[in-house]
């Protein structure tokens, strides 16, 4: 688990997961979109409490390894100010077969969204801004009981 304040380049990150035993790679990229809950979004600001975001993210990745027979997994999350279209979070998983790579990738991104001390503030086109509360993500996380 890594937190970064520079551009995430998935093509570089996936190189770290290569393995001769891997038959599947699943990557997920979360992008900044231009709207949320009916409002036009101009840019987004992530606040991260790095020490615990890192340790909690490591726990999530360890849980994914326990649950699914995967080879490698990694997650990188941005902090700071991001523009529309930028990559905010990347998850990559490799495994012998595709099913476990898909499942582990889904588990990691769902848990990262609801457990890590990361907050996002949306800056809207009309000039105001607000912290986002991720209720829908919490519902998705319930699909994976701990």
């Amino acid at each position: 688990m890594r937190i970064t304040d520079v551009t995430i380049v998935p093509e570089q990150l996936r190189e770290e997961l290569t393995d001769r035993a891997a038959g599947a790679y699943v990557g997920f990229e979360g992008w900044i979109r231009d709207h949320n809950e009916g409002q036009e979004v101009l840019r987004l600001e992530y606040e991260v409490y790095r020490p615990l975001a890192t340790t909690e993210g490591e726990k999530v990745i360890a849980e994914a390894r326990d649950k699914f027979p995967i080879l490698h997994a990694e997650c990188v999350h941005r902090e700071g100010l991001l523009e529309i279209g930028e990559c905010a979070v990347w998850v990559g998983v490799t495994s012998a077969h595709r099913d476990e790579a898909f499942a582990a990738c889904r588990y990691i991104i769902d848990q990262v969204k609801v457990r890590l001390p990361i907050w996002k503030k949306e800056h809207y086109v009309d000039g105001h801004s607000g912290w986002v509360s991720c209720e829908r993500c919490a519902e998705h996380a319930h699909d994976h009981p701990a």
């Binding site: 979360g30 992530y46 606040e47 409490y49 020490p51 615990l52 975001a53 909690e56 999350h77 905010a88 979070v89 991104i109 990262v112 969204k113 609801v114 457990r115 890590l116 001390p117 990361i118 907050w119 996002k120 503030k121 912290w131 986002v132 509360s133 991720c134 993500c137």
Partner: protein, 80 residues
């Protein structure tokens, strides 16, 4: 009475107008502290949506607090 250092993040920091404060309160658990400070700063965020860490470790709300602890109060998270 326990002397506790409290750190606020994101919306909690903006609401309280503070990064950090030291409080002396008669509280047993992290949940007690959360309720006391929600009243003090006029926060209406439900406890169930929030998280807490004591001395750099994520804990449950019923965790006991000790004199000298540092408590991190996390409003609803929204990574990704």
């Amino acid at each position: 009475m326990k002397t506790i250092t409290v750190r606020y993040f994101a919306g909690f920091r903006e609401n309280a107008g503070l990064d950090e404060e030291t409080v002396s309160l008669d509280v047993a658990t992290a949940a007690d502290l959360f309720r006391e400070l929600s009243d003090r700063h006029g926060s209406t965020e439900p406890l169930g949506h929030c998280k807490v860490a004591v001395n750099e470790e994520m804990v449950d709300w019923d965790a006991e607090l000790n004199d000298g602890d540092t408590v991190l109060l996390f409003p609803p998270v929204a990574g990704g």
